[in-house]
């Protein structure tokens, strides 16, 4: 091979340690970003599909006013390229065998569901299967509990109004099995074409028409823009992302992925920058020689640019070769969690950030030090010349900061994230530099300990410039990794706290006041005590400060809470997961006032002292707002927009009681007995919903762990890059020490000690910085409460000290394994 070509060969480069580090960093950057982007895009599709299946569509339009929407609205949706479907929900009595039961009927069109699947059983002992269409005309699927309540068998007929339908399956799970209050009674699903023949729906019947829409986001949005001015009170447009139980978890998972991706990009950039600077320094002699042999500046630049391009290609190809199998594994994992196949789809758009990351890392971080090689004086072949001063590297640092900024922004698309992370980093680096400098300054004075100690401290002091930059880079790396670990820890803890294993999974609604004690006793006897019981009064908010509320509030028509009856309650103590943000909770003997949920209060523009008038049946209650509180809507417990004090405005209103409790799957039979004994109490089963949320949380958690592993790999590469920066000097010193009679054990101990000190100190700084960053991020992105994570604060410096000590020991291998003379000659 020609010599100049060989100078540019990646295979030859690979033999150089710094090049290996640059290539490894590039590969990890590409692999991490590509894996995250591919997986995030797949996760996004999967989650949206999963979450969409909570609606059985991408959007739903509910008409609670009992009238179907005009046909032209559906026509317009079809014209805009949306798939549509429809269903009607109503309650009625059904008869089967010799029994009858109040049920909640859902009559669906052929298109139902547009998203997700229906889970059914063809017979009670048969396997469950997923189907993507409802029952055919003439058939009906019923809730298994109803089968037992009515004493029916599959194939027998069920009388719905005037029509006899054949029970052809058991309805296990509906994709949109949410927990709306309308779905209280056991479910019956039939075909929409059969509805008119039942004769159940009459003028004035309580019926809800629901329309399903699915399609791409742009068409959905454009359709909504068309639809919005036409919507009437009682119409509600529902998307996956608003007000859904999962939305907060989804957003946080997405944020986490973005954060992880950004940190990976930053870590890789640091590794590339450190290693390529080191590489450029090591190339100065070769460049001087090439110049002496007649290569001009352009030739030098061309040589190294060609080399960078080759690295880039190698990094990208290598990174993708890592990313694709990894992505495939993640997809396998995802499909296991979801118990259904997930497409292995290589979205080309998701690969763009990875390619850009490689190019930017290469040209903003690797190129600047390499570019300056053309300025190496040829005279260097005769005599060593002064090295670079920090001033020459200043433009590089500015380019690097701008590039990191751009990359993270492109990647995360969140200016707030970019600014808080980078601002934090810059501030922290300043603090780290100061702390590191102080440490080194004190090192000079520290004496004592055994020989190994003295050597280790002297080593740190001797390499103080390198030690300081190592501490800074390490601390930064550890800070980034620790940030991710901390965010992950608090995120998972938060999710687990949100949905603990024994989260209430059944609601009991419509408990008559005189039955409360009996209901309570029924479940207590079976070892499943009820959560707190709340009285519930249905009423509309009609006036604000004496004026009709819809007129007083801007956009009043579009606020759902004003278009329907609200659940009002009275309670003496503030529910645990509620938090007062304004005003104060009711005093012990307080009999007036109302506490309003914060989000609604915001929409209505309420402040303390505003007078709210509620219409409850034919009666009116007016109370002043005395507090505003936040509510955890996803707590799976009864939650209320409006809370009154006991013996306050609601006391003599007709109330029923509501509660939630946890019922394990194997005790579900008790529900039959309960329904027979308390026929007027409605049971709302949300265990399926909770299981699905938990499955999704598990899946997101696993994705997060996988990404964390990639980030930690990136951190290790940074470690390698930084340590290799002083490798040559250290090996030479080691060889000299051995030549001068130093024992191997002394060398090993002092080196390990030196690295342990370096690692421990950097770890401490990094983790404290991470806690600060997490504190900021918690507020900015994850709106959680901050707390110190002592186990992390203590373990990271320890782990970092141990890992670095071992790394130092490993670096020392060549010094110990060959004769000092041979080594010194090699290091010449």
């Amino acid at each position: 091979m020609a010599a100049t070509k060989k100078l540019m060969s990646v295979r030859r480069d690979w033999r150089e340690r710094d090049v290996r580090v640059v290539l490894a960093a590039l590969m990890i950057a590409v692999a991490t970003v590509a894996t995250i982007a591919l997986f995030a895009s797949q996760l996004q599709r999967t989650l949206v599909t999963s979450a969409s299946s909570f609606l059985a569509a991408d959007r739903q339009l509910e008409a609670e006013n009992g009238r179907p929407i005009p046909q032209t609205w559906l026509q317009e949706a079809s014209d805009q390229g949306l798939a549509t479907g429809r269903m009607v929900e109503f309650s009625t009595m059904v008869f089967g065998a010799d029994n009858f039961q109040l049920v909640s009927v859902k009559a669906v069109s052929n298109e139902y569901p547009l998203r997700g699947d229906i889970e059914i059983q063809r017979d009670p002992s048969g396997a469950r299967e997923l189907v993507n269409q409802g029952p055919r005309p003439g058939e009906v699927w019923i809730n298994p509990r109803l089968l037992r309540l009515l004493d029916l068998k599959i194939g027998e007929s069920l009388e719905v109004g005037n029509l006899n339908l054949t029970v052809s399956g058991l309805l296990i799970r509906e994709p949109d099995g949410g927990f709306q209050l309308s779905a209280l009674a056991p479910r019956v699903m039939m075909h929409q074409d059969d509805v008119s023949a039942t004769g159940v729906i009459q003028e004035g019947s309580r019926v809800e028409y629901v329309y399903l829409f699915a399609g791409d986001e742009a068409s959905l949005e454009s359709y909504y823009q068309w639809l919005r001015p036409r919507l009437e009170p009682g119409h509600e447009w529902k998307g996956v992302r608003d007000g859904e139980t999962l939305s907060r978890s989804l957003e946080r998972a997405e944020q986490f992925l973005l954060l992880g991706g950004s940190l990976a990009v930053m870590l890789a950039a640091v590794a590339v920058a450190v290693a390529s600077r080191q590489y450029a320094l090591s190339q100065r002699d070769a460049v001087a020689l090439l110049k002496t042999l007649g290569l001009n500046g352009a030739g030098i630049s061309g040589l190294y640019l060609g080399r960078l391009a080759l690295w880039g290609v190698t990094g990208i190809v290598g990174g993708l070769l890592v990313a694709i199998p990894l992505y495939w594994l993640l997809i396998r994992m995802l499909s296991e969690v979801l118990e259904r196949p997930v497409d292995f789809q290589l979205d080309p758009a998701a690969l763009v950030p990875a390619l850009l990351t490689a190019l930017v890392s290469l040209f903003a971080f690797a190129y600047p030090p390499v570019r300056r090689l053309r300025n190496v004086p040829a005279m260097r072949v005769l005599r060593s010349q002064p090295g670079e001063t920090g001033r020459e590297a200043l433009p590089d640092i500015i380019i690097a900061i701008v590039a990191v900024f751009g990359l993270v922004w492109m990647y995360a698309g969140e200016l707030a994230l970019v600014v808080s992370l980078l601002g934090g980093l810059v501030l922290l680096l300043g603090a780290l530099g100061l702390a590191g400098w102080l440490l080194v300054a004190t090192l000079r004075k520290v004496r004592g300990g055994g020989n190994a100690w003295r050597l280790a401290l002297a080593g740190l002091y001797r390499h103080r410039r390198a030690s300081l930059s190592q501490i800074a880079v390490f601390a930064m790396t550890l800070m980034l990794a620790a940030t991710l670990i901390l965010v992950r820890t608090s995120l998972l803890a938060d999710w687990q706290a949100q949905l603990p294993g024994d989260a209430p999974n059944h609601f009991l609604i419509n408990i008559a006041p005189e039955a409360v004690d009996d209901v309570d006793a029924f479940w207590r006897k079976r070892g499943q005590p009820l959560d707190k019981l709340y009285p519930m009064v249905r009423g509309r908010l009609t006036e604000l400060n004496g004026q009709p509320v819809k007129e007083t509030v801007s956009n009043g028509e579009s606020i759902n809470a004003l278009n329907r009856e609200l659940n009002l309650t009275w309670i003496s103590t503030l529910p645990e997961d509620n938090e007062i943000v304004e005003g104060s909770w009711f005093d012990k003997n307080q009999k007036n006032g109302v506490s309003v949920e914060a989000e609604l209060a915001g929409k209505l523009g309420l402040s303390l002292g505003d007078k709210l008038t509620f219409t409850i049946g034919s009666r009116r209650v007016t109370e002043a707002v005395t507090s505003i509180r936040t509510v955890q809507w996803d707590s799976m417990k009864p939650n209320f927009y409006m809370a009154f004090p006991p013996e306050g405005g609601l006391t003599d209103m007709p109330a029923t009681w509501i509660t939630s409790f946890y019922l394990p799957r194997d005790q579900k039979n008790a529900l039959n007995e309960f329904s027979r004994r308390f026929p007027t109490v409605s049971v709302l089963e949300i265990d399926q919903v909770i299981e699905r949320i938990q499955a999704i949380v598990r899946q997101v958690t696993q994705a997060i762990e996988a990404i964390l592993a990639l980030i930690l790999a990136a951190a290790l590469v940074v470690l390698a890059a930084v340590v290799s920066a002083t490798l040559h000097d250290r090996q030479r010193e080691g060889a000299l020490l051995r030549t001068l009679g130093g024992r191997q054990s002394l060398l090993v101990r002092s080196t390990m000690l030196e690295f342990a000190l370096l690692g421990g100190f950097a770890g401490l700084l990094g983790v404290v910085a991470a806690e600060a960053a997490v504190w900021a991020l918690q507020f900015r992105m994850f709106d959680g409460a901050f707390q110190w994570h002592w186990h992390v604060v203590l373990s990271i410096p320890l782990v970092s000290a141990v890992v670095l000590a071992l790394f130092g020991r490993w670096q020392l291998r060549p010094v110990l394994s060959v004769s000092p003379m041979l080594l010194l000659r090699r290091l010449e």
Binding site: A2, T4, L293, N296, A378
Partner: protein, 242 residues
């Protein structure tokens, strides 16, 4: 192919003409004068040794003569071209085509084999069949069997022989040698200097050498002494120009 013919008007002119060369360097707040008023002429085909103690300025002088650095004052004219008037790239081209180097620390690229190290300047000067010429030269220096060995696998003397082969590879008009035997033991040093002188004679190149080695210096046509930046030619004071 020689692309610099336009700056070589007269092949009868001296190979190297130096006038009033002064070189200063800034050290923190101070300025040190390394070379002071150096003038000399070296004819084509001559061999010249520059001797002096460590720190006397001889390596600096060599760097300036070879166009690796530019002087603070004065001019260096190499084969008719005034070096200080050339740009960095023009100087590189001049070196590629007319100048060869041998260094004290050999300066072989560790990643390349002996053969590739010798091929490197040939490729840089755009020669058509660099490998053939490189093989011939390595055989000439007695390393025909060590072509694919990397510098690490060669002894010091062998490395310097590779460096000599490389220095002569592109048929330089002038060869600069910086302590070519400085890192070698006496016997190896003698063998290397024999080789250097022999090749120089065969090629008819001009040789400018900085050395401590009196035996080697004595084999050159002329000897210069340098002390505290001032150059003298004790044996032929009449030849020293002003």
């Amino acid at each position: 192919m020689n692309q610099m013919t336009n700056v070589n008007p007269d092949s009868q002119s001296p190979m190297l003409r130096v006038k009033n060369l002064t070189h200063r360097v800034s050290v923190e707040t101070d300025t040190l004068t390394i070379l002071q008023g150096v003038s000399l002429e070296i004819n084509r085909g001559e061999s010249v040794a520059i001797v002096g103690r460590s720190g006397s300025g001889k390596t600096t002088l060599l760097g300036l003569l070879a166009g690796l650095d530019t002087p603070s004052e004065g001019t260096v004219e190499l084969d008719g071209a005034v070096i200080s008037k050339l740009s960095e790239d023009e100087r590189a081209r001049l070196r590629a085509h007319r100048v060869g180097f041998v260094f004290q620390s050999f300066q072989l690229l560790p990643a390349l084999t002996a053969l590739e190290n010798v091929m490197l300047p040939l490729e840089l000067s755009g020669m058509a069949a660099p490998e053939k010429r490189a093989r011939e030269l390595l055989e000439r220096v007695g390393l025909g069997e060590r072509l694919i060995h990397t510098p690490r696998q060669l002894s010091g003397g062998e490395q310097q022989r590779v460096a000599i082969a490389r220095a002569f590879a592109s048929d330089p008009l002038i060869l600069f040698a910086d302590e070519p035997t400085g890192n070698l033991d006496n016997r190896t040093g003698q063998a290397v200097s024999d080789l250097l002188m022999a090749l120089n004679r065969e090629q008819g190149a001009t040789l400018v050498m900085v050395t401590h080695d009196e035996y080697l210096a004595a084999r050159c046509n002329r000897q210069f002494h340098i002390e505290a930046g001032v150059l003298t030619e004790p044996d032929a004071a009449q030849k020293v120009a002003h």
